[in-house]
Subunit: 230 residues, 2 copies
């Protein structure tokens, strides 16, 4: 086990003073007591701060909204799971028998949570500066590619992330009408947000496209209202 | 203006090297360019991390769920607005003419955002350790009162905060039936959560009470599912 752990330490480029912390970070809740849930919680907050600070400095012209969306893309579960997979965390995670049978270690949420727990463990074992260096190094590629300009490709995702960041309810999409022949259909979709009260419509050749166009309109409305309200 | 600012510095017990940072932190978006939105964004992340770290250390036995709810209560807008009001921030915030007319400086959201912006400005002007000391000092009373045991008084709030922390949709409450005489009514309320799929019912002598009881049941269900899923 210890040799295995030191392999992982090489991969993450951090050597733990307290190996028990790393072991805890790798212990899934299905193992019961002494699992990584608290470390994950701490790591989530440390990671959020480090990424925020990093993009704040890197993009001095970016608006709060752009930073919000940029951070959301960098710390979302999918991204963390990918980083965890790149580190080969699946080989190190300790799972209870039930989880192991169901192939749990391959599950994205477990990889993502373990990745955060490791960040939390590094912070506890060292300090914020060391933790920051590790995170920046693990995120090197993602941070070098990150840019506010490359976002907003997908208005539905952008809208969802923006609402979540403001702790608001998610939008509801509904098809109001479909018309035209089967090979030439036109969908009229409504996007509704409860708070702030927004309701917009858009037409598109597919349900998906109409939803994206409606989300784009809703984003603009939301931005307008936000500027007015605050 | 400078004398005013130094009064505020005394109140927050931090002296800025770069006074312009403090001025920016106090500048509402209604003033246009050079406002405090970016600082607020940075301050929000710094504050979140500092509070998380602090309660993580203070409550070594608290579960992730308890820490989540505890933090939510410490960094929610209402709490930040109160802290901002205690500092008398209303006297320092620079608002555009429109906002001023509408009595904007009294609004909770503006106080809360400015409070976060000041945290962000302290972090930028100094470093994480100094910022942490300031936050801990500003939160002294709240942190000394904070305890996982004093939470969960209000299941509806707890449920909402838990779902928000997991970035899930908020619950929907609906009255299924009312029966009994006017002075002895019994409400049957349903609480529905979309993801994870939870639907529970509870009865109470008022709509509010029935909702609270339903929220309590939903919290238990959620906890069960969460333990199973992850």
């Amino acid at each position: 086990m210890n040799e295995q752990l030191s392999n992982l330490e090489k991969t993450i480029a951090y050597k733990f003073k307290d190996k028990a912390l790393l072991e805890t970070a790798l212990t899934h809740r299905s193992m019961g007591h002494g699992n990584n849930e608290r470390l994950e919680y701490l790591g989530d907050a440390a990671l959020g701060f480090i990424i925020t600070d990093s993009i704040f400095e890197k993009f001095p012209q970016a608006t709060e909204g752009e930073l919000t969306r940029l951070r959301a893309s960098l710390v979302k579960g999918e991204t963390l799971a990918r980083l965890g997979r790149d580190l080969g965390l699946g080989d190190y995670i300790k799972l209870g028998p039930g989880e192991r049978k169901s192939g749990g270690w391959r599950r994205d949420s477990i990889l993502a949570n373990t990745f955060e727990a490791i960040i939390g463990a590094i912070y506890l074992d060292a300090d914020m500066e060391v933790c920051r260096k590790c995170v920046i190094s693990l995120y090197q590629k993602l941070l070098s590619e990150a840019s506010p300009d490359t976002l907003s490709k997908d208005p539905k995702t952008a809208l969802q992330e923006l609402l979540q960041s403001r702790r608001l309810d998610l939008p509801v999409y509904s098809v109001l009408s479909e018309r035209g022949d089967a090979h030439d259909r036109l969908f009229n979709v409504e996007c509704t947000i409860i708070e702030p009260d927004i309701s917009v419509q858009a037409e598109g050749r597919s349900k998906r496209l109409a939803e994206q166009l409606a989300a784009e309109k809703a984003l603009l409305e939301l931005e307008k209202k936000h500027n007015k309200i605050q």
